[in-house]
Symmetry: C2
């Protein structure tokens, strides 16, 4: 390993550790101050959507970024207040009001292709993050969210290291040239182990207090989170490659933008929610 690579590597590990501790601290604070979680999710939505919308300019498409952010935030707060029955209304207002505003503002015909991309952004970065709030509402505790985030990140991390050490065969070169089959399998294996460990420890120490979750559920959850998380990662890579970018942003040193860091968790969150919803007696 030469000095340049070593430095990049060290920065990456350091950033990762800082993010992990920062996230854990913030999540524990969310436990104490319930309003903090929707506020943090809102920040994530704003930063995520800015990173999502801007690169479409490379293809000559200009989504309505502020209106998109508005409707995504509306969706998040709607979920916080348990008003999910108005999801349809929110989406209808989104695709009708955005062209009307566009027309009033510019006096030109509204751009329905840009509208499509705006709506896609709201679905991707409004609906998925709202599941963080749905998980807390369903399970009544932030601890399951901590579990989800750390299991997913441990999967990402182990996939990265297994790939670095043992990676030979490319997974899907067109979408993500650095990912290997070995890395992917290592990630899955370690996600299952982490899920089992954290789950059983949580039960033993009473942090995860729901009684109808068995060890086998944590095993299945680990597997599902790993697979869906990696699909989320590839989804994000395909999107970046389509728009001709390397990272979604430069928010975090050697980790890219916020989208690069949360893609796996975003996709794992609804799966986690529905698993518990179906499991619950």
């Amino acid at each position: 390993m030469n000095t340049k690579v070593g430095e990049v590597f060290r920065t990456r590990v350091l950033s990762g550790v800082v993010i992990a501790f920062l996230s854990l601290g913030l999540l524990i604070l969310c436990h104490i101050i319930p309003l903090l979680l929707p506020l943090l999710v809102s920040l994530l939505v704003v930063q995520g959507l800015l990173e999502f919308y801007l690169p479409f300019k490379n293809k000559g498409v200009f989504p309505s970024k502020y209106l998109g952010i508005f409707f995504a935030l509306l969706l998040v707060w709607q979920t916080y207040f348990g008003l999910e029955e108005y999801l349809s209304l929110n989406l209808i207002l989104m695709f009708t009001l955005i062209p009307i505003f566009q027309f009033i503002k510019s006096g030109k015909l509204p751009d329905f292709i840009a509208l499509g991309v705006t709506c896609l952004g709201v679905l991707y970065l409004g609906l998925l993050p709202s599941f963080f709030l749905k998980i807390r509402n369903l399970l009544g505790s932030i601890n399951y969210l901590i579990f989800l985030i750390f299991v997913t990140w441990s999967g990402d991390t182990f996939a990265y290291f297994t790939g670095k050490l043992r990676g030979r065969r490319k997974l899907i070169a067109l979408i993500s040239p650095n990912k290997t089959i070995e890395g992917s399998l290592g990630g899955i294996l370690f996600t299952i182990i982490t899920a089992l460990l954290l789950g059983e420890m949580g039960r033993y120490f009473g942090y995860l207090e729901i009684t109808w979750v068995k060890a086998s559920d944590y095993l299945i959850l680990g597997l599902l989170i790993a697979v869906v998380g990696q699909i989320g990662d590839l989804y994000q890579s395909a999107w970046k490659r389509y728009l001709g970018m390397k990272d979604s942003g430069n928010l975090i040193p050697e980790h890219g933008g916020i989208l690069d860091r949360i893609d796996s968790i975003l996709f794992a969150a609804p799966l986690f929610y529905y698993y518990f919803l179906w499991l619950s007696p």
Copy 2:
């Protein structure tokens, strides 16, 4: 009026009368066979989405029309079976699975701009038509749907005739060069009158049996349906003009495609639903 114009006019009126009787007949059949309504809505969704997706090729965008139709139909039948809590899941599966299918099928990077347009189509022509089923579920009778459809169409018709007879000042020339302020106001006035008449008659003869709806509610509903219906009409016009078309299709002689005929009702339906939802004791 010369012969050509006279003929066009006669065809238009004749088509209109045929559609009106056909619709009434079908809706009465829906009263007898409950499964018929979701089937009819499904047909409308398929035809509507084909009309919606195809013209985007004029701008070099190719939405996934069959997958879009699939997810829109899923949404309609989900509503029919009262599974609206899975709306989020449906939308998430839509924007994740479509690019995955696209990649597997073509081996190329998924097109996220086309995905945006596909999603817009599913929201527009999946969510809005599902409100026909929501209205029946909420009010327990197809009669309110008949009321909504005839009030909206009478508004469209009277707007057309008032415009022909008295129209002078253009409403919004850029979006729809044939619409006039006089036509619009005439449409609003006659929609209110029709809503009041049909509403009070329905109460008198027992067709509209809900007791907590007052005459003033029918007046407000008439006004709202007229305004929202005309906005829906303009929305559709803006979309056609943006893609460089006159009509959305040639399904009905002198009425264009199915989208040209149902645009106002599509937008009036959610309004009607939420009005009754908020009004209900």
